[in-house]
């Protein structure tokens, strides 16, 4: 499935802010990104699919929008 990925915060230092990628499910997506970008290793970020945060691996559909968002500490 081709999905759109949006990245936020410090993840934009590692990944493009917006890109398209082939992925079957959310775990597969984050694993393949981490394999390509060592900087993602051990990073904590939330995964949202079509504006809903997901807690477990879910299957992706064509044109899903996946947001990867780390915690921000600033105040």
């Amino acid at each position: 499935m081709k999905v759109k990925v949006l990245t936020f915060g410090s993840l934009t230092d590692i990944l493009e802010r917006e890109f398209s990628v082939e992925a079957q499910d959310t775990d597969g997506l984050t694993a393949s990104l981490t394999a390509k970008h060592a900087g993602l290793n051990g990073r904590k970020f939330l995964v949202a699919v079509n504006d809903t945060i997901v807690k477990e691996n879910i299957a992706l559909k064509e044109q899903d929008v996946v947001a990867l968002m780390p915690p921000y500490s600033g105040g």
Binding site: F8, G9, S10, G42, R43, A48, T52, S73, G74, G75
Partner: protein, 369 residues
């Protein structure tokens, strides 16, 4: 209720009016952190007429704060943020009961502070305090308006408030565990656009006003993000399920014993031990302050420049310690170790704290041998 012309635009506002204004005036909001987020949030909450407002911040004003912390002036550098904020806000609206707390929010003092308010604003700048506040507000069922910023981006959410389905979520529903400190740099390290906390802090104040008055739909179980560079914003739904990896206190007594610094990977720098030889070499150096924590009648006196603050008087005299390396001294090294640990917690990470191993007794032996 007598109409107060100060709030006439709220009275006239359809959907708000006297009913909502009266609710605001009986509301109590605690703002944790009087920095980039806290300053604008406080200004609007005080201007809007929230009845009681608490301000917690233990920091002093620095020049680099003034680019975004709009309650403070150049002439106030070095003064406590909570005190200056309170003074400015009393000028803005003397009808508000404003309480300032110059302290570091901890598991020891947080319960009592938070219990006295209806809504809490997380305007902090570190994960240890964010998780502490989130866990405590969850335990107390206290509405928490969360705000956080990174460079040009902000996050806002309302926690512990049930949505129409009765579902409540917390910060741990977003991020069950804190990040590695190295992966989440703060504004000091990566910078921040000055207006960003102005926008996010003002939105936090808006959410608090909505919660207190019942006007509108607060961001319950939703995380809003805004990027000022492209003006894109998103609202993500936060599901009810909490990740199994989350570790958090499940009772108030558990909370009071929970180590948030450890939990967030913050290792407290230890108190350095200094030998008598090393002590003699450096004790009169630049930037070093020797603090004798013995009682005034204990002998022998130290034959060089030092300050004497008996151990039991140390808590009231921390501000006398104004150098970046403190060496604590006592008779045997026991009280100095204890005092060193106390100062380690009170002074910032920039201050090195050492203590003389073996105390003045060991120093005597070294100097006479």
């Amino acid at each position: 209720m007598e109409r107060n012309d100060r709030y006439s635009r709220h009275y006239r506002l359809s959907g708000f009016g006297e009913v909502a204004q009266t609710k605001l005036q009986s509301g109590r909001v605690l703002v944790v952190g009087a920095g980039g987020l806290g300053c604008p949030a406080l200004q609007y909450l005080v201007a809007a007429g929230v009845g009681k407002i608490g301000i917690i911040d233990h920091d002093r004003i620095e020049l680099s704060n003034l680019q975004r912390q709009v309650l403070f002036g150049t002439n106030e550098i070095g003064l406590y943020k909570a005190e200056i904020a309170a003074a400015k806000l009393r000028l803005l609206n003397p009808e508000i009961d404003i309480r300032e707390y110059v302290l570091h929010l901890s598991t020891e003092n947080a319960v009592e502070l938070v219990e006295g308010y209806d809504v809490v604003l997380d305007c902090t700048d570190n994960f240890a305090t964010r998780y502490l506040l989130s866990d405590l507000c969850a335990l107390l069922g206290k509405p928490l308006v969360f705000g956080a910023i990174y460079k040009y981006e902000g996050q806002i959410a309302v926690f512990n408030v049930a949505d129409d389905n009765g579902v409540k979520t917390t910060y741990r529903h977003l991020f069950p565990l804190p990040p590695d400190p190295l992966d989440a740099p703060d504004c000091n390290e990566v910078g921040v656009l000055g207006v960003l906390p102005g926008i996010i802090g003002t939105m936090q104040a808006t959410e608090a006003i909505k919660l207190l008055t019942g006007v509108g739909q607060p961001l319950c179980n939703k995380l809003m993000t805004i990027n000022l560079l492209d003006n894109r914003s998103m609202v993500l739904d936060i599901p009810e399920t909490l990740s199994k990896v989350a570790v958090y206190p499940t009772s108030l007594s558990h909370f009071e014993a929970f180590g948030y610094d450890d939990h967030c990977g913050i290792t407290t720098p230890s108190v350095h031990r200094i030998s008598p030889q090393e002590f003699m070499e450096i004790c009169q150096g630049n930037g070093i302050l020797v603090v004798d924590v013995r009682n005034v009648d204990e002998q022998p006196k130290l034959p060089f420049e030092h300050v004497q603050i008996p151990l039991q008087e140390l808590p009231e005299n921390v501000e006398k310690i104004d150098r970046n390396h403190v060496i604590v001294v006592c008779q045997s090294g026991k009280r100095s170790q204890f005092a060193g640990q106390f100062l380690r917690e009170k002074l910032g990470a920039d201050c090195r704290v050492s203590h003389l191993e073996g105390g003045v007794a060991a120093l005597e032996i070294y100097n006479n041998g």
